[in-house]
Amino acid sequence: MLLSVLVYGFINSVILAMVALGFSITFGISRVANFSHGGFYILGGIFTWYGLIKLGMPYFLSAGLSIIIIGALGALMYKVILIRLRGLELSEVIATLSLGIVILELLRGLGVFGYEFRNPVFMDGSVDILGVGVGIQRIIIVCAGALLLILLHFFVHHTKMGLAFRGVAQQEHTALSVGINPDLVSMLSLAMGSVMCALSAVLILPLGVISVDEGYDILIKALAVCIIGGLESTLGVLVAAFIIGYIEVLTSMYISSALTSVVPLACMLGILLVRPSGIFGKSKEIEERV
């Protein structure tokens, strides 16, 4: 029992972290809160499903294509909509939220509902870890999540582009004066966040059915994790994902699975009461929050 909590809590935490990372990366760099995250997530899943089932493409081609399309969509959203609203935080929020709702409700209207809409797992079968049977898909998710994190760290800290990203995140004007184009970087950050969102969709969605409500759920979870961890801190996102992930699994195993949905909300409100800027988001305490 304890071991399975350990294993499944870990997997659950990695899933939460992957979902939240895309949101936090975009926000950390360009200060754009991409509320269409949930919409992009489901859209990524649906594109993969469509390519795979309806067009009969190979799995990896269809998944890769949908990830690229979603990334391009993120960039396009910046280029067409957000660039006109830069700096007007409220308008940015409303614009991205409305786009997300357009995507999700459009899919609902087109009849995305039911058991038919599910992506197959990459590989069947299961492995014993610490005496607990775990499906291979979940192992792939954990491995991919770890790989993604390492790649991300390498990209941000050891490439020139990553340096430009960090520069824009720290101070846009100074970055501009040394020849970094903040608009380009912001656009790329949105594309990157969307790519990560679609990637996590491709990996995680085979565990369940693709449904529109799942899109809202994902958005809620990503936001809750980011709020608890501190919106702009990658470390905070990881820690928060593990806190929520383990508490969720513990609640569903020892108390009641019906209460699982209460956990993130309770965690979030509790943390906000004690530390309004999240666990690790201390830098913006005075500037951004009262």
């Binding site: 809160a33 509320f35 909509i81 006109r84 609203l85 007007l88 935080e89 409220l90 308008s91 929020v93 409303i94 614009a95 939220l97 409305s98 786009l99 709702i101 357009v102 409700e105 459009l106 609902r108 209207g109 809202y216 759920d217 958005l219 809620i220 936001l223 809750a224 980011c226 709020i227 919106l231 699975s257 019906a258 209460l259 699982t260 949905s261 209460v262 993130p264 909300l265 979030m268 409100l269 509790g270 906000l272 009461l273 309004p276 951004e288 929050r289 009262v290």
Partner: protein
């Protein structure tokens, strides 16, 4: 060399004259002032009672949504940009529904009681987030109603997915429509007066410069609590009212379209003007009824409209119309060129 042109805006003479109320000297000037103010009041009154019975229901919904939009606009002008008005609506609705269903209170008690209890619970729910501002506050308010919806769904409290049905109805459609219209006008004029008062200036200052509020020795948090209480109270009344109007309450009260409607109405009409949200609601309410055949595409159309307006006409319809009414626009030559600001 081509000369560039720029658009010049000049106040109409009649506006300059009527700005000073003591100079009114003709029917025309009085009409200039009175007509735009009387038009909505009289127009809605006539519309509400003259339309065919089916559309009366639409008018009720429109009035209620107008109140929701007003409350959103009020909270937004206090710097509390909520993306989850549905939370307040649902809490009011569930409070009134519970008071009516479990305690057996009559309708004239359950609505005020539901409003009050709902507002208190809403304020308590939002209280932990009051340390946040701007985008952070919006993020949290977006999550709370969606999460509470899951809580109701999974734990099955208040009827779970089934909801509570069989609540007491209103005595008749005329009473309903009159009540909703009176409530709308009370909300509108009340909020306008509130914002203009000294007390209301503190709320506006919360958005413009909250340090100044703090520097004046006033507690930011305490005034935010009051703003939330007022704003959520209005929404809770809407919720309580609609519960009894539909005679049932369900999880859909938390749904995202109830959060998006007030925002859409405010953005379409013009944020921060109070008249704007009202105008937006009067346009969007009947529109949404006309689009009923489209089912779930309705929300799509709202959201698309919202996105279009925020990008194309961010000031909203009301300021646009007001400008046309009060100013003359003409193209003049700009020999020095147009500055790039």
């Amino acid at each position: 060399m081509s000369t560039e042109r720029r658009k010049e805006r000049i106040d109409r003479p009649i506006k300059a004259v009527t700005d000073d109320i003591f100079c009114l000297s003709s029917i025309r000037e009085i009409a200039y002032l009175v007509i735009p103010r009387m038009l909505p009041v009289v127009g809605l009154l006539l519309l509400a009672f003259l339309v065919p019975p089916y559309w009366r229901k639409v008018m009720v919904i429109t009035f209620v949504m107008g109140m929701m939009a007003l409350s959103w606009d009020f909270m937004a002008s206090c710097g509390l940009t909520s993306l989850g008005q549905a939370l307040f609506f649902a809490l009011g609705a569930y409070s009134a529904g519970a008071a009516n269903h479990y305690l057996g209170l009559p309708i004239y008690l359950s609505i005020p009681l539901g409003t009050l209890i709902g507002a208190v619970i809403s304020t308590a729910c939002i209280y932990p987030t009051l340390g946040l501002r701007g985008i952070y506050f919006s993020v949290v308010t977006l999550i709370i109603p969606l999460m509470l919806m899951r809580v109701v769904e999974t734990t099955g409290i208040f009827g779970g997915t089934e909801g509570i049905t069989g609540l007491s109805p209103f005595p008749g459609i005329i009473v309903t429509i009159a009540l909703s219209m009176i409530a709308l006008w009370i909300t509108f004029f009340g909020l306008r007066r509130l914002i203009d008062s000294d007390y209301g200036h503190i709320f506006v200052a919360l958005k413009d410069n909250d340090r100044a509020v703090e520097a004046s020795g006033l507690s930011i948090r305490w005034f935010k609590v009051q703003a939330i209480f007022i704003g959520s109270g209005i929404c809770c009344f809407c919720g309580a009212f609609m519960t009894h109007y539909y005679m049932s309450i369900g999880m859909s009260a938390f749904a995202v379209d109830l959060s998006i409607f007030p925002i859409a109405a405010s953005v379409v009409g013009g944020m921060g003007t109070l008249v704007g949200p009202l105008l937006g609601a009067i346009i969007l309410g009947p529109l949404s009824e006309a689009l009923r055949a489209f089912g779930s595409f309705r929300v799509v159309i709202y959201a698309a409209l919202l996105g279009t307006f925020i990008v194309m006409l961010p000031e909203g319809l009301f300021p646009y119309l007001a400008r046309k009414y009060q100013q003359i626009e003409r193209w003049v030559e700009a020999p020095g060129g147009i500055s790039e600001d």
